[in-house]
Symmetry: D2
Amino acid sequence: MRIAANHIAQHNESLQAKHQARLHAVLQETDQAEAIIQKLMAFNVAIPSWALGTGGTRFGRFAGAGEPRNLEEKIEDVGLLHALNNSSGSISLHIPWDIPKDYAAIRELAGSFGLSFDAVNSNTFQDQPGQPLSYKFGSLQHVNKAVREQAIAHNIDVIQHGDALGSKALTVWLADGSSFPGQLNFRNAFENTLESLEVIYKALPSDWKMFVEYKAFEPNFYSMTVGDWGQSLLYANKLGPQAYTLVDLGHHLLNANIEQIVSLLLMEGKLAGFHFNDSKYGDDDLTVGSINPYQLFLIFKELVEGMDARGMNHATDLGWMIDASHNLKDPLEDLLQSVEAIMLAYAQALLVDAAALKAAQLNNDVTQAQEILQQAYRTDVRPLVAEARLRAGAALQPLQLYRNAGVRKALVDERGSNTVATGL
Amino acid sequence: MRIAANHIAQHNESLQAKHQARLHAVLQETDQAEAIIQKLMAFNVAIPSWALGTGGTRFGRFAGAGEPRNLEEKIEDVGLLHALNNSSGSISLHIPWDIPKDYAAIRELAGSFGLSFDAVNSNTFQDQPGQPLSYKFGSLQHVNKAVREQAIAHNIDVIQHGDALGSKALTVWLADGSSFPGQLNFRNAFENTLESLEVIYKALPSDWKMFVEYKAFEPNFYSMTVGDWGQSLLYANKLGPQAYTLVDLGHHLLNANIEQIVSLLLMEGKLAGFHFNDSKYGDDDLTVGSINPYQLFLIFKELVEGMDARGMNHATDLGWMIDASHNLKDPLEDLLQSVEAIMLAYAQALLVDAAALKAAQLNNDVTQAQEILQQAYRTDVRPLVAEARLRAGAALQPLQLYRNAGVRKALVDERGSNTVATGL
Amino acid sequence: MRIAANHIAQHNESLQAKHQARLHAVLQETDQAEAIIQKLMAFNVAIPSWALGTGGTRFGRFAGAGEPRNLEEKIEDVGLLHALNNSSGSISLHIPWDIPKDYAAIRELAGSFGLSFDAVNSNTFQDQPGQPLSYKFGSLQHVNKAVREQAIAHNIDVIQHGDALGSKALTVWLADGSSFPGQLNFRNAFENTLESLEVIYKALPSDWKMFVEYKAFEPNFYSMTVGDWGQSLLYANKLGPQAYTLVDLGHHLLNANIEQIVSLLLMEGKLAGFHFNDSKYGDDDLTVGSINPYQLFLIFKELVEGMDARGMNHATDLGWMIDASHNLKDPLEDLLQSVEAIMLAYAQALLVDAAALKAAQLNNDVTQAQEILQQAYRTDVRPLVAEARLRAGAALQPLQLYRNAGVRKALVDERGSNTVATGL
Amino acid sequence: MRIAANHIAQHNESLQAKHQARLHAVLQETDQAEAIIQKLMAFNVAIPSWALGTGGTRFGRFAGAGEPRNLEEKIEDVGLLHALNNSSGSISLHIPWDIPKDYAAIRELAGSFGLSFDAVNSNTFQDQPGQPLSYKFGSLQHVNKAVREQAIAHNIDVIQHGDALGSKALTVWLADGSSFPGQLNFRNAFENTLESLEVIYKALPSDWKMFVEYKAFEPNFYSMTVGDWGQSLLYANKLGPQAYTLVDLGHHLLNANIEQIVSLLLMEGKLAGFHFNDSKYGDDDLTVGSINPYQLFLIFKELVEGMDARGMNHATDLGWMIDASHNLKDPLEDLLQSVEAIMLAYAQALLVDAAALKAAQLNNDVTQAQEILQQAYRTDVRPLVAEARLRAGAALQPLQLYRNAGVRKALVDERGSNTVATGL
């Protein structure tokens, strides 16, 4: 299914007057509006292929309907999102769930939606049917070298699939760790993991990056072998210049100051990018911006400031991806809300008066620093984000159009109501 | 020091045009603006007397300057705030730090600023010079009946001071608890505390309320004898209809869903009111709205919905107070920011489309429910709050006027730079 | 499979000398040994039927082998445990996973192992194949009355199954809650849940109890409708004298003082009993005593003290059950370790010098109170627990015997290596 | 005050028979007893000078009595501890609280008690009377270079004091950070701090170490500029081979796996040592081993294993210090309990069957790994620790002797009951 351009145009037309009035109001508040709109138009967030189906918890999964049945339909779903918001222009594949049979055909299909292929993801946290050795006790960390070699080979395989599609990065998220004191020798686990990563690293094409993702807990409940940014950075530094640390918002001990981590990783030149979601208790994988939108803004403030300090390109020099689990909402609606939350936080961050903030900081004027941040945050930037979409031919109100156009119903009609997308 | 009305008028005049344009933009977004402005004008947050001086931590305290040296100057400070924002119309005294010598004179002074006296607070978490028995091991919970009687007598004394000033509530916050396993028999501690509270309860004037405040930890680090809302509610129910549970935002285990607690306490008719602040790690007592403004909004959403369901008066039927510690900012600036954050959250909560939310909930339309909340939250309601101030003769931009008028400098000139307000 | 009594006798014989020496050492330390051994012999912890298979996380499940394929084999597994440790004398069934076809035969089978039927558990957190209405948005809380009625009918059905087997309690654990702000009206959710529970309560036989279990988060990640002990107690009090609050160690916000909750629930006469497990980050459901055995001891100290104060029978007046997830260990080994940890904590708690502790508390002698607790905790009570087993004809070292006897291998031979027990 | 050797001998004599029986029981359980006793005899934990007085919280301080009034009396107090337990053979001074007037006399006094001088501690988290510039907004991180230079000069001064006394390490704990979003530029704060540390580092004598201590929060409540082990390690690596990361048990986000951090820092050759205490909610600074003794054991297990793997000397190659706050207990009693808890955890760690554990790990035998750890942990090692004391001429039961000898009363008689030791 595709949304026709004139369908979008009609939608925009009907909301045009109201939009212009709102936009006008924001334009009074800043002289940076045009620059911000340009940056918003250039910004894109990758959609992971596994987020297009309903997610679940260990207690069960309540299926949705009309879920994509194969890679082609997943690409089609991301294409729908991108047509609506012009900010979801790439897809992040997960191997073995998304092994393409015909690379050229898949690239062509993606291209027809204006989509490219973001980082590819390996999976050594589950056993696949027919797999010779089990990852029950870890993969790259495993005490048995044969298991490590199997996991290494899988990662290299993933690189090859990605390379054939035009991806430029491998994301390695490891469930490796332990659930009980004594289960692991921490040093050996670290050293095995490092040694395994080194082999994979050597298999990277020279223009690729390796993203080393960390996570504090789950699915292991005592230790994780890549457990925090400090550990990930140790690996990345030992691996070399193509290795970076990937931050997932839900992968921290509670109340960690994530924005400070972001700032320091940028300082070290080792930030890979982001997996966005939101959470209250753990890796809850909720819709981005649904629980603590101010934190999201603070993170973007650090990203903008830190990237600008290094002369980085906001749109292309880091990896941006959503990584949430859609247990209760229609996955496509959830993704539209998530991308919107990211664009709003980015716009607010761009609105921060950096010079005034610097002056307040140099003066230890804490009150004023807060005023400057909240002045940007409390500004209603929705018209700026809508304007960026409008100019790119996307929808002023993507979610509204999605609902009015009956997209989900059409997908159910086409795919059936008992489809289950591969994923968690 | 007093801020002259014409000083405020001049300030408002200079900002009028800009304000009107912004207000106009909000008025396009809602037809509830007038009703909201009326409610904002009626709303008031009490200022605790101890928040007018610089706070500290166990590691030390970095004094400010021009702090109020006595009760009269504390009232004067709150008068300044109220003149600026018309939302700080009462003061909450702490005994023994604020024992008035001449009740009539104090009431007259407060009246001259348009201030009334909010809940009075007892202090049994510190020993005062000359105090016969120590609270080192608790007060109302103490194993020694003589200590309990001393603490009871103090609370009754506090009621009498409050009564003479026109207060209508006693807030009992107990540091009682234990720092080590085995130190306390939990049941005996509960029973002693209940018995002590019963005596104090009997001493309440018939039109008074008792606010039983809970706290999860600090200054005791193993158990607190009024440790959570469940315990506080047990006490309040056993005490009787004049006893209520008081919620302080920083007094929970991390990530507690405070808005749900608020909703349930309203359901039970037992919510006393609020101590506002913000925090990231514990009872950090930071400026309201400085860390998680969305949570503050969600709490106000429950307050508005729950109070409306019971036909309660937002402005008068619950106790509203700030309880923060101003370690780094000028206390008056910090309080202005805190009150502003509260008014904004209240305005956003009033803006929620309650009927649409109810419909979404009845339809399990989770996506839409989030849209409705964020529609209200992301609206820039600052012009509504400013308009409410304008109409009441207060300042459009209180903090800006406070700085431009050189209030702190004037206070330092008058009081000196080495003054230390009583408090923590 | 059954372990022959003479097999156990042989095992005990071989360890007898060493055991007697160790026992002798403990007997020097206390004159309460005989009384403690008697209490240990009487104590039993129920095994939930779902704990006999391998557990998993939302990221996957690594199956074990030889898992029980039906209710009969689950009973057989518990029978094995009980033969080994004489402390696992009952089984807690989960409906619909364990619906008996022939009540009399099942009772007879259980009886042949010396087992009785503990509390029965309902399941409204998953949809079953063919179920008319979905629990995706809750069960007893659901906005749709028809869903609530379906869930009520299921619970009543569970009572009937349990009654036919001789159970005396229904455990209601609800996943009901919300994952997003705005999704639920908290009060309505509470009221719907209460109303539903009232119908179920009326269906209880007069000698039954209802256990209302609470949980802070997961599988819902914003609010839980029975979220903490305060909420559970509200329900239990509103329901009536047959309703009680059930405590699961992993169902709290982090670092909650669970032992204080236990003490207060006992004070109120409303403690139902326990679901034992251990955890570091959330509801990790790890082996009891594997992460924080001192906390387990402190909880048992409160249980012993609080039950004694009310003249309760330790063995029979509360419900004791293990509720863990065995993701990495052989489930039967994990259960043997868990039961052992519980027995040790109970023995240590019985060893506490209650009179000396009371004296220290009345004297605020915090140092001494800690000494008294740790004197009991640091005593090696393993010989006492072993002696209790020995006298009852169970094994001195259950885990060692389990391994030496090749139990798992025998089960795999009998059941196959690809069996999957029903459960999570 | 000194405890006479014959007083100790008498005490030991009276407990000898009982001790021998207990020791005999442990000797049956291990053939490592003699080696363990030797290691226990060699082990020492430094006592910080500020721990000899009563601590407090931001809510107040309840003074004890007989507190040391000067450096000489602090040394005397540590001397008392060391005479009692033979495990407190050094003192860690805090400048400016403990500036010696006569180095030679102080060294001689310490020597007379068998004490040496451990790491010296600087203080830039408080302002001292007469100090030209304030640390309100940080010290080594400060935006004002003059403040940084003042803080640098202080640290160099501390090194000189320490050098004159024979110390070999400087501990730098910084309160530097921010309490509000926007207050700091994280990168600048890091870079300023690093630059400042580099100057101090250059002033280190060549046989000195610099201990860079981290802390997650408090007294700053939004960010800390040396906030976790990852940040501390960044500084230490950039500084050079004399810089190390210091771990304080209470300085982490809740539920961090501290033992894994220890293991990795040892792997990197960058672990400085430890500040011991215990906690439930934050940096509660409670008696070591009073809340979670199993965690303490797990940490020691990693220390022993990791140090042995590098051929390090347990007693001398890392810095061991208690850092607790004694709010409720007699500080000397609290310290005796803390040292005892450390010695017990160390003894249990030494008792772990390392070869068997390694085998279980290589076999992914998680059940057995837990058995091995708990076999060591549940063994009553108190007789081993007592025996180590006995052989060194210290007391079998230090706390009991401290009480029976009336030490505190004697100190009060000598020093008065209103003395207040410098410190927090």
